[in-house]
Protein backbone atom coordinates (compact mmCIF):
# COMPACT_ATOMS: atom_id res chain seq x y z
CA UNK A 1 0.00 0.00 0.00
CA UNK A 2 1.48 3.33 -0.99
CA UNK A 3 1.73 6.33 1.32
CA UNK A 4 -1.27 8.16 -0.13
CA UNK A 5 -3.52 5.11 0.16
CA UNK A 6 -2.28 4.49 3.70
CA UNK A 7 -2.98 8.11 4.61
CA UNK A 8 -6.48 7.83 3.13
CA UNK A 9 -7.25 4.57 4.95
CA UNK A 10 -5.93 5.93 8.27
CA UNK A 11 -7.92 9.11 7.78
CA UNK A 12 -11.09 7.16 7.11
CA UNK A 13 -10.49 4.92 10.13
CA UNK A 14 -9.94 7.87 12.42
CA UNK A 15 -13.12 9.49 11.16
CA UNK A 16 -15.22 6.35 11.56
CA UNK A 17 -13.68 5.77 15.00
CA UNK A 18 -14.61 9.31 15.98
CA UNK A 19 -18.16 8.67 14.79
CA UNK A 20 -18.30 5.40 16.76
CA UNK A 21 -17.07 7.15 19.92
CA UNK A 22 -19.59 9.96 19.45
CA UNK A 23 -22.43 7.51 18.90
CA UNK A 24 -21.52 5.64 22.06
CA UNK A 25 -21.71 8.95 23.94
CA UNK A 26 -24.94 9.81 22.09
CA UNK A 27 -23.39 13.12 21.21
CA UNK A 28 -26.24 15.29 19.86
CA UNK A 29 -23.90 17.62 17.97
CA UNK A 30 -22.36 14.70 16.13
CA UNK A 31 -25.82 13.39 15.26
CA UNK A 32 -26.84 16.81 13.94
CA UNK A 33 -23.78 16.81 11.72
CA UNK A 34 -24.38 13.26 10.51
CA UNK A 35 -28.02 14.00 9.71
CA UNK A 36 -26.95 16.93 7.58
CA UNK A 37 -24.12 15.02 5.96
CA UNK A 38 -26.16 11.96 4.97
CA UNK A 39 -29.57 13.58 4.49
CA UNK A 40 -29.75 13.29 0.71
CA UNK A 41 -28.20 9.87 0.35
CA UNK A 42 -30.36 8.32 3.05
CA UNK A 43 -33.58 9.86 1.82
CA UNK A 44 -32.83 8.87 -1.77
CA UNK A 45 -32.11 5.29 -0.71
CA UNK A 46 -35.29 5.08 1.38
CA UNK A 47 -37.39 6.67 -1.34
CA UNK A 48 -36.22 4.22 -3.96
CA UNK A 49 -36.55 1.33 -1.54
CA UNK A 50 -40.10 2.14 -0.47
CA UNK A 51 -41.32 3.83 -3.62
CA UNK A 52 -43.09 6.46 -1.50
CA UNK A 53 -41.65 9.80 -0.56
CA UNK A 54 -43.83 10.30 2.53
CA UNK A 55 -43.05 6.87 3.93
CA UNK A 56 -39.40 7.46 3.18
CA UNK A 57 -39.48 10.72 5.17
CA UNK A 58 -41.04 8.93 8.16
CA UNK A 59 -38.43 6.20 7.94
CA UNK A 60 -35.73 8.83 7.58
CA UNK A 61 -36.61 10.18 11.03
CA UNK A 62 -37.00 6.72 12.53
CA UNK A 63 -33.62 5.72 11.15
CA UNK A 64 -31.88 8.51 13.04
CA UNK A 65 -33.76 7.67 16.22
CA UNK A 66 -32.56 4.07 15.79
CA UNK A 67 -29.02 5.32 15.15
CA UNK A 68 -29.22 7.22 18.44
CA UNK A 69 -30.52 4.20 20.34
CA UNK A 70 -28.19 1.61 18.83
CA UNK A 71 -25.20 3.76 18.03
CA UNK A 72 -23.07 1.66 20.38
CA UNK A 73 -23.41 -1.21 17.89
CA UNK A 74 -21.43 0.67 15.25
CA UNK A 75 -17.83 -0.50 15.60
CA UNK A 76 -16.15 2.20 13.52
CA UNK A 77 -14.27 -0.36 11.46
CA UNK A 78 -16.45 0.08 8.39
CA UNK A 79 -17.91 3.02 6.55
CA UNK A 80 -20.63 4.71 8.56
CA UNK A 81 -22.85 4.93 5.48
CA UNK A 82 -22.86 1.13 5.16
CA UNK A 83 -24.10 0.74 8.72
CA UNK A 84 -26.58 3.58 8.28
CA UNK A 85 -28.10 2.03 5.16
CA UNK A 86 -28.30 -1.30 6.95
CA UNK A 87 -30.23 0.28 9.84
CA UNK A 88 -32.53 2.04 7.37
CA UNK A 89 -33.11 -1.15 5.45
CA UNK A 90 -34.13 -3.09 8.55
CA UNK A 91 -36.53 -0.35 9.55
CA UNK A 92 -37.96 -0.35 6.06
CA UNK A 93 -38.52 -4.10 6.15
CA UNK A 94 -40.12 -3.84 9.61
CA UNK A 95 -42.39 -1.09 8.37
CA UNK A 96 -43.46 -3.03 5.29
CA UNK A 97 -43.97 -6.14 7.39
CA UNK A 98 -46.34 -4.26 9.68
CA UNK A 99 -48.31 -2.94 6.73
CA UNK A 100 -48.35 -6.13 4.75
CA UNK A 101 -47.41 -9.27 6.69
CA UNK A 102 -45.80 -11.48 4.09
CA UNK A 103 -42.71 -13.66 4.07
CA UNK A 104 -39.32 -12.01 4.40
CA UNK A 105 -38.36 -12.91 0.85
CA UNK A 106 -41.45 -11.24 -0.47
CA UNK A 107 -41.02 -8.03 1.46
CA UNK A 108 -39.02 -6.32 -1.18
CA UNK A 109 -40.81 -7.92 -4.09
CA UNK A 110 -43.37 -5.30 -4.99
CA UNK A 111 -43.59 -6.31 -8.63
CA UNK A 112 -47.34 -6.87 -8.33
CA UNK A 113 -48.08 -3.77 -6.29
CA UNK A 114 -49.68 -0.71 -7.70
CA UNK A 115 -46.74 1.65 -7.70
CA UNK A 116 -46.95 5.21 -6.60
CA UNK A 117 -44.63 7.47 -8.52
CA UNK A 118 -41.55 8.58 -6.67
CA UNK A 119 -41.44 12.19 -5.76
CA UNK A 120 -38.03 13.66 -6.35
CA UNK A 121 -37.23 17.16 -5.28
CA UNK A 122 -36.06 19.04 -8.33
CA UNK A 123 -33.83 22.04 -8.32
CA UNK A 124 -35.08 23.85 -11.39
CA UNK A 125 -34.09 27.28 -12.54
CA UNK A 126 -36.74 27.81 -15.20
CA UNK A 127 -40.23 26.64 -16.15
CA UNK A 128 -39.13 24.86 -19.31
CA UNK A 129 -36.27 23.14 -17.58
CA UNK A 130 -38.61 22.31 -14.76
CA UNK A 131 -40.98 20.52 -17.09
CA UNK A 132 -38.17 18.73 -18.90
CA UNK A 133 -36.50 17.65 -15.69
CA UNK A 134 -39.76 16.56 -14.19
CA UNK A 135 -40.55 14.39 -17.19
CA UNK A 136 -37.06 13.00 -17.15
CA UNK A 137 -37.25 12.22 -13.42
CA UNK A 138 -40.68 10.67 -13.86
CA UNK A 139 -39.40 8.43 -16.58
CA UNK A 140 -36.44 7.24 -14.55
CA UNK A 141 -38.54 6.73 -11.46
CA UNK A 142 -41.14 4.82 -13.44
CA UNK A 143 -38.39 2.63 -14.84
CA UNK A 144 -36.96 1.99 -11.39
CA UNK A 145 -40.32 1.07 -9.92
CA UNK A 146 -40.86 -1.37 -12.77
CA UNK A 147 -38.08 -3.64 -11.57
CA UNK A 148 -38.22 -5.77 -8.44
CA UNK A 149 -37.14 -4.00 -5.26
CA UNK A 150 -34.11 -6.19 -4.59
CA UNK A 151 -32.73 -5.34 -8.05
CA UNK A 152 -33.63 -1.69 -7.59
CA UNK A 153 -31.89 -1.61 -4.24
CA UNK A 154 -28.69 -3.13 -5.63
CA UNK A 155 -28.64 -0.75 -8.61
CA UNK A 156 -29.33 2.33 -6.46
CA UNK A 157 -26.71 1.43 -3.88
CA UNK A 158 -24.11 0.69 -6.54
CA UNK A 159 -24.64 3.41 -9.09
CA UNK A 160 -26.29 6.20 -7.12
CA UNK A 161 -24.68 5.81 -3.72
CA UNK A 162 -21.40 4.48 -5.03
CA UNK A 163 -21.14 1.61 -2.57
CA UNK A 164 -18.78 -1.25 -3.34
CA UNK A 165 -20.14 -4.74 -3.86
CA UNK A 166 -18.87 -5.79 -0.42
CA UNK A 167 -20.60 -2.81 1.17
CA UNK A 168 -23.86 -3.64 -0.59
CA UNK A 169 -23.56 -7.20 0.68
CA UNK A 170 -23.04 -5.83 4.19
CA UNK A 171 -26.06 -3.53 3.93
CA UNK A 172 -28.42 -6.15 2.55
CA UNK A 173 -27.01 -9.15 4.37
CA UNK A 174 -27.00 -11.07 1.10
CA UNK A 175 -24.03 -13.07 -0.22
CA UNK A 176 -21.71 -11.34 -2.67
CA UNK A 177 -22.76 -13.67 -5.49
CA UNK A 178 -26.39 -12.75 -4.97
CA UNK A 179 -25.54 -9.06 -5.08
CA UNK A 180 -23.63 -9.50 -8.33
CA UNK A 181 -26.53 -11.37 -9.82
CA UNK A 182 -29.06 -8.74 -8.68
CA UNK A 183 -26.93 -5.95 -10.04
CA UNK A 184 -26.42 -7.62 -13.39
CA UNK A 185 -30.07 -8.53 -13.78
CA UNK A 186 -31.28 -5.17 -12.49
CA UNK A 187 -29.10 -3.31 -14.95
CA UNK A 188 -30.26 -5.52 -17.81
CA UNK A 189 -33.87 -4.90 -16.84
CA UNK A 190 -33.32 -1.15 -16.67
CA UNK A 191 -31.55 -0.83 -20.00
CA UNK A 192 -34.57 -1.20 -22.28
CA UNK A 193 -36.66 0.91 -19.91
CA UNK A 194 -34.20 3.77 -19.92
CA UNK A 195 -33.24 3.57 -23.56
CA UNK A 196 -33.00 7.11 -24.91
CA UNK A 197 -33.37 8.72 -21.49
CA UNK A 198 -30.81 11.50 -21.23
CA UNK A 199 -30.40 14.05 -18.49
Amino acid sequence: MNAAALYFVNGMESETSAIARGLRRRDPDLLDRLIEQYQHRLLRYLTYLTGHRELAEDLFQETWIRVLERGHQYDGKHEFSTWLFSVARHLCIDSMRKKNPVSLDGLLDDSNDARAPLDPVDIRPSALEMIAQHEHADRINAALTCIAAEYREAVVLRFQEGLTLDEIAAVTGAPLGTIKSRLYRGLNLLMPLLKGAQA
Binding site: R26, I35, H40, P120, F159, Y184
Partner: protein, 162 residues
Amino acid sequence: MTRDVHQQAQEWIALTGVDGLGLDDAQQSQLQTHLRECDSCRGYADATSQVVRSLRSVPMAATPVLVRRTQARVRQHAQLLRQQRERLWMVGIACAGIGFSASVTIPIMWKVFSWLGNWAGVSSPVWETGFGIFVIAPALLVSVLLLARGRHLTDDAGRWRS
Protein backbone atom coordinates in the same frame (compact mmCIF):
# COMPACT_ATOMS: atom_id res chain seq x y z
CA MET B 1 -15.10 -14.97 -29.40
CA THR B 2 -17.32 -17.37 -27.55
CA ARG B 3 -20.56 -16.40 -25.88
CA ASP B 4 -18.91 -16.86 -22.49
CA VAL B 5 -16.37 -14.14 -23.26
CA HIS B 6 -19.14 -11.69 -24.12
CA GLN B 7 -21.09 -12.64 -21.05
CA GLN B 8 -18.00 -12.27 -18.88
CA ALA B 9 -17.29 -8.84 -20.33
CA GLN B 10 -20.86 -7.71 -19.79
CA GLU B 11 -20.84 -8.94 -16.20
CA TRP B 12 -17.63 -7.02 -15.55
CA ILE B 13 -19.18 -3.90 -17.06
CA ALA B 14 -22.36 -4.30 -15.01
CA LEU B 15 -20.48 -4.86 -11.78
CA THR B 16 -17.68 -2.35 -12.09
CA GLY B 17 -18.77 0.17 -14.70
CA VAL B 18 -17.31 0.79 -18.12
CA ASP B 19 -13.92 1.91 -16.77
CA GLY B 20 -13.52 -1.44 -15.04
CA LEU B 21 -12.60 0.02 -11.68
CA GLY B 22 -12.41 -2.82 -9.19
CA LEU B 23 -11.01 -5.30 -11.70
CA ASP B 24 -7.40 -6.35 -11.48
CA ASP B 25 -4.98 -5.17 -14.17
CA ALA B 26 -5.22 -8.32 -16.27
CA GLN B 27 -9.03 -8.29 -16.24
CA GLN B 28 -9.13 -4.59 -17.04
CA SER B 29 -6.78 -5.06 -19.95
CA GLN B 30 -8.82 -8.04 -21.17
CA LEU B 31 -12.02 -6.00 -20.94
CA GLN B 32 -10.62 -2.99 -22.80
CA THR B 33 -9.19 -5.22 -25.54
CA HIS B 34 -12.51 -6.98 -25.90
CA LEU B 35 -14.42 -3.69 -26.04
CA ARG B 36 -12.19 -2.47 -28.88
CA GLU B 37 -13.00 -5.59 -30.88
CA CYS B 38 -16.64 -6.28 -30.03
CA ASP B 39 -19.41 -3.95 -31.20
CA SER B 40 -22.06 -5.77 -29.19
CA CYS B 41 -20.25 -5.42 -25.87
CA ARG B 42 -19.30 -1.83 -26.67
CA GLY B 43 -23.00 -1.17 -27.19
CA TYR B 44 -23.70 -2.82 -23.84
CA ALA B 45 -21.07 -0.61 -22.21
CA ASP B 46 -22.63 2.50 -23.74
CA ALA B 47 -26.07 1.42 -22.55
CA THR B 48 -24.67 0.84 -19.06
CA SER B 49 -23.11 4.29 -19.06
CA GLN B 50 -26.42 5.77 -20.10
CA VAL B 51 -28.29 3.99 -17.31
CA VAL B 52 -25.76 5.14 -14.74
CA ARG B 53 -25.84 8.73 -16.05
CA SER B 54 -29.63 8.70 -15.99
CA LEU B 55 -29.76 7.40 -12.43
CA ARG B 56 -27.32 10.03 -11.25
CA SER B 57 -29.17 12.81 -13.03
CA VAL B 58 -32.28 12.67 -10.85
CA PRO B 59 -31.96 15.15 -7.99
CA MET B 60 -33.56 13.98 -4.79
CA ALA B 61 -32.93 16.12 -1.76
CA ALA B 62 -34.16 16.15 1.79
CA THR B 63 -35.92 19.39 2.62
CA PRO B 64 -34.48 21.67 5.34
CA VAL B 65 -37.74 21.23 7.26
CA LEU B 66 -37.30 17.47 7.35
CA VAL B 67 -33.70 17.80 8.47
CA ARG B 68 -34.56 20.27 11.24
CA ARG B 69 -37.50 18.18 12.40
CA THR B 70 -35.32 15.08 12.50
CA GLN B 71 -32.59 16.86 14.43
CA ALA B 72 -35.12 18.15 16.94
CA ARG B 73 -36.65 14.69 17.38
CA VAL B 74 -33.25 13.11 17.85
CA ARG B 75 -32.24 15.68 20.47
CA GLN B 76 -35.53 15.22 22.30
CA HIS B 77 -35.14 11.45 22.25
CA ALA B 78 -31.53 11.75 23.41
CA GLN B 79 -32.70 13.77 26.41
CA LEU B 80 -35.34 11.16 27.22
CA LEU B 81 -32.75 8.37 27.03
CA ARG B 82 -30.40 10.37 29.27
CA GLN B 83 -33.15 10.80 31.87
CA GLN B 84 -33.92 7.09 31.77
CA ARG B 85 -30.26 6.31 32.20
CA GLU B 86 -29.94 8.68 35.16
CA ARG B 87 -32.98 7.07 36.75
CA LEU B 88 -31.46 3.63 36.31
CA TRP B 89 -28.26 4.87 37.96
CA MET B 90 -30.25 6.21 40.91
CA VAL B 91 -32.06 2.90 41.32
CA GLY B 92 -28.76 1.03 41.06
CA ILE B 93 -27.09 3.22 43.66
CA ALA B 94 -30.10 2.87 45.97
CA CYS B 95 -30.04 -0.92 45.62
CA ALA B 96 -26.31 -1.04 46.36
CA GLY B 97 -26.79 1.18 49.41
CA ILE B 98 -29.64 -0.93 50.70
CA GLY B 99 -27.67 -4.13 50.15
CA PHE B 100 -24.65 -2.79 51.99
CA SER B 101 -26.74 -1.43 54.83
CA ALA B 102 -28.63 -4.71 55.17
CA SER B 103 -25.48 -6.81 55.22
CA VAL B 104 -24.14 -4.69 58.08
CA THR B 105 -27.28 -4.24 60.17
CA ILE B 106 -28.98 -7.66 59.84
CA PRO B 107 -26.36 -9.66 61.82
CA ILE B 108 -26.38 -6.98 64.53
CA MET B 109 -30.18 -6.90 64.71
CA TRP B 110 -30.25 -10.71 64.81
CA LYS B 111 -28.07 -10.65 67.90
CA VAL B 112 -30.21 -7.88 69.44
CA PHE B 113 -33.43 -9.86 68.83
CA SER B 114 -31.79 -12.99 70.20
CA TRP B 115 -30.75 -11.15 73.36
CA LEU B 116 -34.22 -9.56 73.71
CA GLY B 117 -35.88 -12.99 73.23
CA ASN B 118 -33.71 -14.51 75.96
CA TRP B 119 -34.28 -11.52 78.26
CA ALA B 120 -38.09 -11.67 77.75
CA GLY B 121 -38.06 -15.47 78.04
CA VAL B 122 -39.85 -16.15 74.72
CA SER B 123 -39.15 -19.14 72.50
CA SER B 124 -36.86 -18.89 69.50
CA PRO B 125 -39.64 -19.08 66.81
CA VAL B 126 -41.35 -16.09 68.41
CA TRP B 127 -38.40 -13.71 68.42
CA GLU B 128 -37.31 -15.05 65.01
CA THR B 129 -40.78 -14.20 63.62
CA GLY B 130 -40.54 -10.77 65.18
CA PHE B 131 -37.17 -10.31 63.60
CA GLY B 132 -38.61 -11.33 60.20
CA ILE B 133 -41.43 -8.78 60.47
CA PHE B 134 -38.95 -6.12 61.60
CA VAL B 135 -36.79 -6.78 58.52
CA ILE B 136 -39.58 -7.11 55.96
CA ALA B 137 -41.85 -4.26 57.07
CA PRO B 138 -39.50 -1.38 56.08
CA ALA B 139 -38.73 -3.09 52.78
CA LEU B 140 -42.45 -3.34 52.02
CA LEU B 141 -42.96 0.28 52.97
CA VAL B 142 -40.06 1.42 50.78
CA SER B 143 -41.35 -0.70 47.88
CA VAL B 144 -44.75 0.96 48.06
CA LEU B 145 -43.14 4.39 48.22
CA LEU B 146 -40.85 3.59 45.28
CA LEU B 147 -43.76 2.33 43.21
CA ALA B 148 -45.68 5.53 43.94
CA ARG B 149 -42.60 7.58 43.08
CA GLY B 150 -42.07 5.57 39.90
CA ARG B 151 -45.62 6.24 38.74
CA HIS B 152 -45.12 9.90 39.47
CA LEU B 153 -41.96 9.95 37.33
CA THR B 154 -43.70 8.11 34.50
CA ASP B 155 -46.48 10.66 34.54
CA ASP B 156 -43.89 13.42 34.44
CA ALA B 157 -42.13 11.81 31.49
CA GLY B 158 -45.44 11.47 29.68
CA ARG B 159 -46.20 15.14 30.20
CA TRP B 160 -42.70 16.08 29.05
CA ARG B 161 -42.99 14.01 25.89
CA SER B 162 -46.31 15.52 24.97
